[in-house]
């Protein structure tokens, strides 16, 4: 065991699985000698050579498209898209090709590929280094979408994603890359790809969240406890697709009051899916309308980033509203 940050845990996860499975390959812009712009792939070319961890030309479409070909033919590629904001040149390959290959071939051809990409705000990156695009991808049948919020989960979920027989979009909350350390076991271990994680216990209300919003929800729950002596549960969804629907419904039934928190814009966001799920299957247990706390329905700003991003202030406001309803 050692204490690792999330980005170190990602690195360790890649290293651990590459040592055991020589079909795992890493490719992307600057993932080689530089080790990635966030250093997630630091030292991997040195250990595994250029055959297994290599820089590509500046072509996201090419990175993912070539990744699909590698996956079709026996490799387990891990493609890095430097920022999720730059994934859209590869949208076609992800949505039309990777996600649909199994279905369109009746299961004859499959794409066991991971696309890793840092996402979200908090680094003063403006419109194109900050976005949270999970909803575009969770909307795509055939694709799994995984978002860790801790170093332990980052490593375990990443290894599970690499071993998974289907294409996985693995979104890494860059704001948490170096936010804190945690004990992370050595070697290969997995975290199941369809379970939620209870972060803070409680039954006065529940906040569903994922990625960089998990610490924000936790802080809001702490402040509510301090100011109102009420225990608010925090649940990290962590695998957005497939979603552990039963666990989500159960928490809502136990708490009766719900806030869904996401960094992405509100309209047609993933939080809306959770709200709809609860409206369909848990309305009899709800004691207040479900509230969403989200980014604004605007592109991601730069100077006003801190107002755009949901913070504990805004989450508390929503929790107070559902508690006082």
């Amino acid at each position: 065991m050692s204490e690792l940050t999330m980005v170190q845990a990602v690195n360790d996860g890649l290293k651990s699985i590459m040592r055991e499975d020589d079909t795992v390959l890493l490719m992307g812009e600057d993932v080689g000698p530089k080790g990635g712009v966030f250093l997630a792939t630091e030292g991997l070319t040195a250990e595994f050579g250029e055959e297994r961890c290599f820089d590509t030309p500046l072509s996201e479409d090419g990175i993912v498209g070539v990744g699909i070909g590698l996956a079709l033919n026996g490799m387990k590629p891990v493609c890095e898209i430097q920022f999720q904001d730059f994934i859209f040149p590869a949208f076609d390959q992800i949505v039309s090709e990777a996600a649909k290959m199994r279905y369109r071939s009746g299961g004859q051809y499959t794409v066991p590929m991971v696309v890793r990409t840092p996402y979200g705000g908090g680094i003063r990156g403006g419109l194109y280094h900050s976005q949270s695009g999970e909803a575009y991808f969770a909307h795509t049948p055939g694709l799994k979408v995984v978002i860790p919020s801790t170093p332990y989960d980052a490593k375990g979920l990443l290894i599970s994603s690499i071993l998974d027989p289907d294409p996985v979009l693995f979104m890494e909350p860059k704001a948490l890359y170096r936010a804190f350390r945690e004990e992370v076991p050595e070697g290969v271990y997995t975290v199941d790809l369809s379970t939620v994680r209870e972060v803070v216990p409680g039954d006065a209300a529940v906040i569903y969240c994922w990625g960089a919003m998990v610490p924000v929800a936790t802080e809001a729950a702490r402040r509510i406890k301090e100011t109102r002596q009420q225990d608010v549960r925090v649940v990290d969804l962590r695998t957005l697709m497939p979603l552990d629907e039963d666990a989500v419904l159960q928490a809502a039934r136990e708490c009766g009051r719900v806030v869904v928190l996401q960094e992405a814009p509100r309209f047609c966001g993933y939080a809306s899916e959770i709200s709809a799920l609860l409206a369909e299957h848990a309305v009899e247990s709800l004691e207040a309308p479900v509230r969403r706390v989200t980014g604004f329905d605007t592109p991601f700003p730069n100077t006003l980033e801190n107002y755009y991003l949901p913070d504990a202030r805004r989450v508390m406001d929503a929790v107070e509203q559902v508690l006082d309803f």
Binding site: E50, P57, L58, S59, D61, G62, F88, D311
Partner: protein
């Protein structure tokens, strides 16, 4: 996995490049073509713009180190390519830039205060603090901003040029990109369509040898970026981008062709990125100091200065004072920018659409209520990695 032969070694002579200036700047080569060379005023404009970019790089890097601006994309070493080519375009032409060509907006008349306001992202930034620093725009000088998504501006240049063509105007579009962006979807689509449409575009690739940490040898297996033009059916030329006169000449020739309805041209200006990719990059992780030293000895500003001195223009125009004049102008703009506050919270929802729709107006009302009841938002802790 890469088996491509490196096309960029320390010696820029491995692929024949078009040149005008002698390596030491003291005069032009006897072999140089005489057409499309910059006249007296253009030469001085280019030199002043080069100096301005160098001064800004140094000053902005300091401000970044002090935490006063978040990010800077440096142009040090590329000034001849940027401003030699930039000098070609007329006021009614449009310039579509990439990361490092913001100085061309200044060269075309963008006020320094506006440039610095953008770097601060304050209430006086014409883009209202929405973009990261180094994404300059200036409508008055026909200079739209690039996004960040590499290569996407190139097809826009083709479309804007096609509009000029449809209206029968004698104008052209400049479409800048780096060597890395030649691998983007936008580059391919833009060159292909421009050639098919015979659009009046000049594609200028500023090849600085690197795309962050990826060298040109891993970017393309072609012998040069300029040779890519052939496959698209347009002329292409590779030029010594540290030679301001050659950069001007090749681009002027291409612009003249475009104005004469001869269609697009690809001009590759080969230069070198002396600094890191940006204020946050540590290039020693992936490249040799020796390579950097090699290029430092070929400083384009020194070379241009030597040329101006050899012609007497330097003395005649009193260029010695320019550096301190520019520094003073930058300092004044920085002092002013530091006093201007951020854009107001309400501005978040402006310009998403021509008119903010109802749901967006409601979101702003809600944000203002929360700010009034619960105070200011938490500061953002993270730093830009690159």
């Amino acid at each position: 996995m890469s088996t491509a032969r490196p096309i960029r070694v320390s010696d820029p002579g491995t692929f024949p490049l078009r040149r005008v200036l002698r390596e030491d700047g003291r005069g032009v080569l006897k072999s140089a073509a005489q057409e499309h060379l910059p006249g007296r005023d253009k030469l001085l404009e280019i030199y002043r713009a080069m100096l301005t970019t160098r001064v800004l790089d140094q000053r902005l890097l300091k401000l970044q180190r002090q935490g006063r601006v978040a990010f800077v994309g440096l142009a040090t070493g590329q000034e001849a390519a940027i401003h030699g080519s930039g000098a070609v375009f007329e006021p009614q032409d449009w310039v579509f830039s990439a990361l490092r060509e913001g100085g061309i907006a200044l060269q075309r008349g963008m006020p320094m205060a506006e440039y610095i306001a953008h770097m601060f992202g304050n209430a006086e930034d014409s883009a209202k603090g929405r973009q990261m620093p180094n994404h300059f725009q200036c409508r008055a000088v026909n200079f739209p901003s690039w996004s960040s998504v590499l290569g996407t501006q190139l097809p826009h240049a083709v479309g804007a040029a096609a509009a000029m063509q449809r209206r029968g105007e004698p104008h052209v579009c400049a479409a800048y990109s780096g060597d890395g962006a030649t691998s983007s979807n936008g580059f391919h689509s833009a060159l292909n369509m421009a050639a098919v449409m015979r659009a009046p575009v000049v594609f200028v690739v500023i090849d600085n040898g690197w795309a962050i940490s990826v060298p040109s040898s891993k970017q393309t297996a072609a012998a040069s970026y300029g040779t890519k033009a052939r496959a698209y059916g347009m002329p292409g030329v590779d030029v010594d981008g540290n030679d301001a006169l050659a950069s001007y000449q090749a681009v002027a020739e291409a612009a003249a062709r475009a104005r004469d309805r001869g269609g697009p041209t690809l001009v590759c200006l080969r230069s070198y990125r002396i600094g890191g990719h940006s204020s946050s990059d540590d290039p020693t992780r992936y490249r040799d100091d020796g390579e950097v030293e090699h290029w430092e000895k070929r400083d384009p500003i020194q070379r241009m200065q030597a040329y101006l001195k050899s012609t007497g223009l330097y003395q005649e125009a009193d260029c010695e004072h320019w550096q301190s004049d520019i520094e003073a102008a930058v300092s004044a703009a920085v002092r002013h920018a530091a006093e201007v506050g951020p854009p107001p919270l309400e501005s978040l929802a402006e310009d998403v659409y021509a008119e903010p729709p109802l749901h967006l107006r409601r979101q702003v009302v809600e944000a203002l209520r929360i700010a009034a009841e619960k105070g200011a938002a938490d500061a953002v802790a993270g730093e830009f990695p690159l």
